[in-house]
Every structure is written in C-alpha cells, then in structure tokens.
C-alpha cells in the first residue's frame, strides 16, 4: 500500500480577501510500512499538510492517493495523532481508547477487550480506569497512540506528538513508538521540527522549507536500528542533516 501526496497546494483565505499560501506543490510518496518524518520550521505548514492527508482540510489543488487511487475526504485507513492535547477529559483512559470503536459500531464489551490489548501495547494496563488529568503528559500521548491504533488504521499520521514533553520522557516515548511500529507494521508519517527526533526515528526525512512549504530535500537515513543517540555514527548523520538543511534553498533557519 503506497500513499502518494501529489502536487498539494493550499491557500488560506484570510479576512480582507487576501490569501496565505501555506503549501506549494508538495509531492512525495510513502511506501508500505515506511516510517517517514516530515521536518520543517515552526509555522511552515506541517500541520496543514497532515490535516489535508487526514481529510480534515481540503487542498486548493493536488490530490492524495492510496495505491494510485485518489481519496477524497476522510479514510478509515488513516488515523491522526494531534499536536495538542486531544483526549476526552470526561472519559476514562479505556473509554478514550474505545471511542473510535464505539462510533464504528463495535459492541461495548468487545471494544473494551480491544482497548485492553492496545493499552497493554503502550504499557498502560494499570491506568485503564484513570482519567486523563490523572496522567502525566507522556502517558497521555501514549493513550492517544493506543486510541489511534485501536481502529486498526494502515497509516498513522503523527503531528509533533512529543513536542510538549520533557527530553527524558520524549526519548522514552520515541523508543516505545519504534517498538510499536515494529510490532504493528504501520505506515507512519511523523511531523516534527526536531532534527534529533527525526534522525532517531525515521527511514526517510522529508524536509520542508519555511512558508509556503515546498519539499526542499528528501534524505534517507541509513542508520541501523536500534540507533544510539549518543553514538558517533548518530552525531555524524545528524550533522549531515543539519548541513543539508542549512542550504539557502531550505531556509530552515
């Protein structure tokens, strides 16, 4: 299953009959079970791109294709994890995970079983009956991951999911995400503006320019897994990436 983003352009209309161009002719493909990171400076249009892929926003032009077939609107094959805190605070952790199953028509008791599986996967078995506000930021993001996985999407869209976490927690979650990815074999598009994070996680980086976002570089990461953040090899690749994106045409800074 291949996901293709083809020629996506997005203009926002803003008051005063003007328009802001957020995305300009973005084209790239993601292979089955691939882990792709989209890297770009703050405000360049990363969230917008993910929203278009998820069908929450319409592109001004261009198309999203799965296996060459144009999809319009939302597709059950995709699930999105949002940049900001997005759990339902009035539902327990378990009921947050069952949400997608319930609206999909699954029987309550079955949904709870499925939820249990995914809570186990993200290591939150013991927290099923807690409410979101009882969890730390990192635990919360793990719940959103479980919630997204529970509906068995083929593609996972992740919008800076660990942006608000402290460094330690962030590193731990990155490791866990990789484990889950290997177990569940999803295709993942992971948006971030941290070079470290992108290099640690991805098979391939799509580097965007600042607004309007264009694809400036596509960088494959040939580091064996598990990767060692503090290793010399890692530092080298990281430096390479930093050098590449420091080119004037990327204008990352």
């Amino acid at each position: 299953m291949t996901l293709t983003i083809r020629n996506i352009t997005k203009d926002f209309l803003v008051p005063g009959d003007q328009s802001i161009c957020a995305l300009s002719e973005i084209t790239f493909s993601v292979a089955d079970e691939e882990f792709v990171s989209v890297l770009g400076p703050s405000g360049c249009g990363k969230t917008t791109l993910l929203r278009i892929i998820a069908g929450l926003e319409y592109a001004t032009s261009g198309s999203i294709e799965i296996n060459g077939e144009i999809i319009s609107g939302r597709s059950p094959r995709m699930a999105m994890i949002f940049q900001e805190y997005s759990l339902y605070p009035w539902r327990t952790v378990r009921d947050n995970v069952t949400f997608g199953l319930e609206v999909g028509g699954m029987h309550k008791s079955q949904a709870r079983e499925v939820a249990q599986t995914y809570l186990h996967l993200v290591g939150l078995d013991d927290f099923a009956d807690r409410y979101p506000h009882e969890l730390s930021g990192g635990m919360r993001q793990r719940v959103t991951v479980a919630r997204a996985l529970a509906i068995k999407p083929q593609i996972l869209l992740m919008d800076e999911p660990f942006g608000a976490l402290d460094a330690q927690t962030r590193n731990r979650l990155q490791e866990e995400l990789l484990e889950i990815w290997e177990k569940t074999k999803k295709t993942i598009i992971f948006v971030t503006h941290s070079v470290d994070e992108a290099v640690y996680l991805a098979d391939r980086l799509i580097v965007l320019t600042s607004r309007p976002a264009r694809v400036c570089e596509v960088i494959p990461i040939h580091l064996a897994r598990p990767r060692d953040r503090t290793g010399q090899e890692f530092a080298r690749v990281r430096r390479q990436v930093l050098d590449l994106i420091a080119q004037p045409k990327c204008s990352l800074q």
Partner: protein, 255 residues
C-alpha cells in the same frame, strides 16, 4: 478543625440587630428577633403566617413553581442553544431577537403574562421561565462554541458521524458550561418567584407570604420569609456546585 471565624459576622449581626431593635423599638422597621425566631422554629405551623399555610408549605409551593419554570426553560434553552452553537445560520436568525428580549426584566412581563396565560400556575411559571431562559441559552451557546476543535476533529478521524459528535463530544464537552448556565439560571428563577407570586390570584408561596405579611405590617414574617428564601437558595446553589465538583472536575483539572 473548622475555624469559628465564619460565624463571627452572623453572630455580630444578630446581636447588633437585637440591640438595634431594642432601641428603635418599632416592629415595623426592625422587629425583635424574639418575634422572628419562633416563626423559624415552627416551620410546620401556620400559626404565624396569617393563614397562608406554614413556612414549609409555602416553600414547597414556591419550589414546585420554580422547578417547573426552570425545567421548561432548560428544556427549551439547551436544545436551542446547541442548535445556535452549531449552526451559524440559526444563530444569525435568532441572535438579534434574543438580544432584544434578554434585557427585558421578568417583572415587566407580568401584565402580558396575565393577559396571555391567565391567572394561575401558567403565568407564574412563565415569569420564572423568562428568568431562567437566557442564562441557560447563552451558556449553552457559549459552551458549544468553545468546544475544542481538536475534540471534534479527533472524533471525525476516528469515523464519528454528526450524531456521534453531538451526543458523544459536544454534549459532554459543553456540559460544564451548560451546568453553570443552569446554576445561574436557577438563581434567577428563584429570584423571580417572588415577583411571580405577587401576581393576582396567588394565595400560596414565599413571595405571596412576604407580600401578604407586608400588607398587614408583619415585618417579622417578612424577615422569616427572606431567611427561608436565602437558605433554600444557598442549599440549591450548593447542590449545583456539588454536581459540578462531582461530574465536571475534569474541567478544572484539565491542563
């Protein structure tokens, strides 16, 4: 380990009252507590209330009326508010009219209520309904409008239909704000019951009791009535607050 400080002022006020009552020596201005307390101590007796039934009877009547008017207000205002919060068109259609009607005091509707709904329960309930309606409506609209967009979008990406979004997201997400609207609305209904019970043909209720006592210069009965109104008001407000803590603590704790 409860501090006695909160009792300081009430005690001072009571002592001050009694002293002042002694010096003013005019039961129409400030009746001595010795004439007020017996009424409060015999809430089931109709000996003190000029034949209008006992304090408890009157309170029950008033509560029933308020409950009815309030429930009707909620039944109309909440669905309407959800509609106006979700649909810009509906909001556009109704907003101007609502803004014009809102500042008109419930009391000003008394003459029209009497003409439209006749003497009796319906008129009284209408006045109370008017009082509760606008806070509930405005809070519902506000609650629905200020639902986090992400909550709705998460639901969409998880495959929810409009009915799921309404029932599983909007209603829950807006519930704390709606609840606050209900609390405020109840407070105003409770205020309006006095006005409503001044309508002709009324012969029961705390508002009626106050008016009737007033007509016969029974200031002690007036004050007893006010105390009961205050106590019931505070109790119900606490019930609403307890509900808020019980069901909507997530809002305060979130983030």
């Amino acid at each position: 380990m409860r501090s006695p400080v909160p009792l300081l002022l009430p005690v001072l006020l009571i002592v001050g009252w009694e002293v002042a009552a002694h010096f003013i020596d005019n039961p129409f201005i400030l009746p001595s507590l010795t004439t007020v307390i017996p009424i409060l101590l015999h809430p089931f007796s109709d000996k003190f209330t000029l034949g209008t039934g006992s304090l408890v009877d009157n309170a029950a009547v008033s509560l029933f009326r308020v409950a009815l008017g309030f429930a009707l207000a909620a039944l109309i205002a909440i669905p309407l508010g959800i509609g106006m919060g979700r649909s810009a068109l509906l909001n556009n259609i109704l907003d101007a009219t609502i803004e014009l009607l809102r500042p008109i005091p419930p009391l000003a509707w008394v003459p029209l209520a009497l003409a439209w709904f006749k003497i009796g329960l319906v008129s009284i309930v209408f006045i109370i309904l008017i009082g509760a309606f606008f806070p509930i409506l405005l809070n519902t609209i506000d609650g629905v409008k200020s639902i986090k967009r992400t909550w709705v979008e998460v639901a969409l990406t998880l495959g929810a239909r409009e009915s799921d979004i309404l029932g599983k997201v909007i209603l829950h997400g807006a519930a704390p704000t709606i609840w606050t609207g209900l609390r405020v609305g109840f407070g105003i209904s409770w205020m309006c019951v006095v006005a409503a019970e001044w309508l002709p043909g009324t012969t029961r209720g705390l508002g009626y009791l106050i008016l009737y006592a007033y007509n016969f210069g029974q200031t002690n009965v007036i004050i007893a009535g006010m105390v009961i109104i205050g106590i019931i008001g505070i109790v119900i407000d606490q019930v609403f607050k307890a509900g808020e803590r019980r069901w909507f603590s997530w809002r305060a704790l979130e983030r």
